[in-house]
Symmetry: C2
Amino acid sequence: MKTELEQVLPAQIEKRSFEIITEELGERVFVPGTEPIVKRCIHTSADFDYAENLVFSEKVVEKALGALRRGASIVTDTQMAKAGINKKKLAQYGGQVYCFMSDEDVAEAARENGTTRAAASMEKAARMFQRNHGQADTADRPLNCQEVPGDETPGLIFAIGNAPTALIRLYELVREGRLAPELIIGVPVGFVNVVQSKEIILELKDTPYIVARGRKGGSNIAACICNALLYMM
Amino acid sequence: MKTELEQVLPAQIEKRSFEIITEELGERVFVPGTEPIVKRCIHTSADFDYAENLVFSEKVVEKALGALRRGASIVTDTQMAKAGINKKKLAQYGGQVYCFMSDEDVAEAARENGTTRAAASMEKAARMFQRNHGQADTADRPLNCQEVPGDETPGLIFAIGNAPTALIRLYELVREGRLAPELIIGVPVGFVNVVQSKEIILELKDTPYIVARGRKGGSNIAACICNALLYMM
């Protein structure tokens, strides 16, 4: 082997990576609390564009950590993001990860309505978890979607890493009052309606968001933002 | 909604994305056969760096498709890549996807040997599938790792999207003659030994490879290269 390897103990690899990222970011000033998220996105992608393109709504980290602490669950639009989220850590607080993309009823609804499975999977989330203030409309587990004063029912975080159509449908469901997410992680990737789908999320007034503006994002970025939050707890 | 959406039918979104990518790539000339792989990596990441950083060994696409056709299986270093690979399509030819990262014996071996779980998971692959010319050393399913003339036993493709330590161990196992992969997809991402781990793969003389030089890559890229190959069949 002609190539010189850096000698780093297994347990130190992530630490060393973050040191390199910190060095290369230089004197950058972050929105308070957001630094671990920005750095983990760079760690996941080796792409320093994430130092520029991430947008955070006011006090979003504080709000997201509060939601996770109350047992919020995560709904995502890909099995890859579901695989990447640290489910053990999430479960410590009572949350779990849902992805409805492979569900037969979602595929059927998409066919019937001429929409994408991603959009139909957001519909399914709304059906299962709509704001119900204690009234269960699912046999499994009643879930409110945003903190109501005095209400300790856990809420929902949406982590959208692939499909702009999921993000657009989510925007509509929020506007229609059918969902009130604790947090929207809006990081779909691609070329058709991706930029637009993220811009409309920034229009939402009362919904905390973390959005990667522009074309970039992905399931890996969606999962890593969830994990960055979990590792801050 | 103030933002103007492009009207594209669900079934047309991917096609339209690839048209945009093709437009933006302009007059670029690709190594024959590699164009769908490069474009799918850009599609997955919205990162045109993949037009520059992907390196292909000679006739790698032809060889990889041959391996898949003979029922090659895929070993990967993350559950995310496993989740992202089109397992239904792979199964049509007889292959399946393995990821040993969460296996208890892998965690144990890593602890014992002071290595990473990723490196230990490559060891496990070598133990399970080492070149055996028809002699099963696993009760489940004997697998050769590279085509032997007249030998139709399916082989192995390694798709490494996260851990440089996996790629380095894989390199060593090939050099030691314990594995002879049909293809190494070498696209770990990150900052510690990532660049080096990919450069050493380029030194392998008889192993077909697809490598993303530099720091970039990821589970999403590993999965999408597998899928690009599968969609070419």
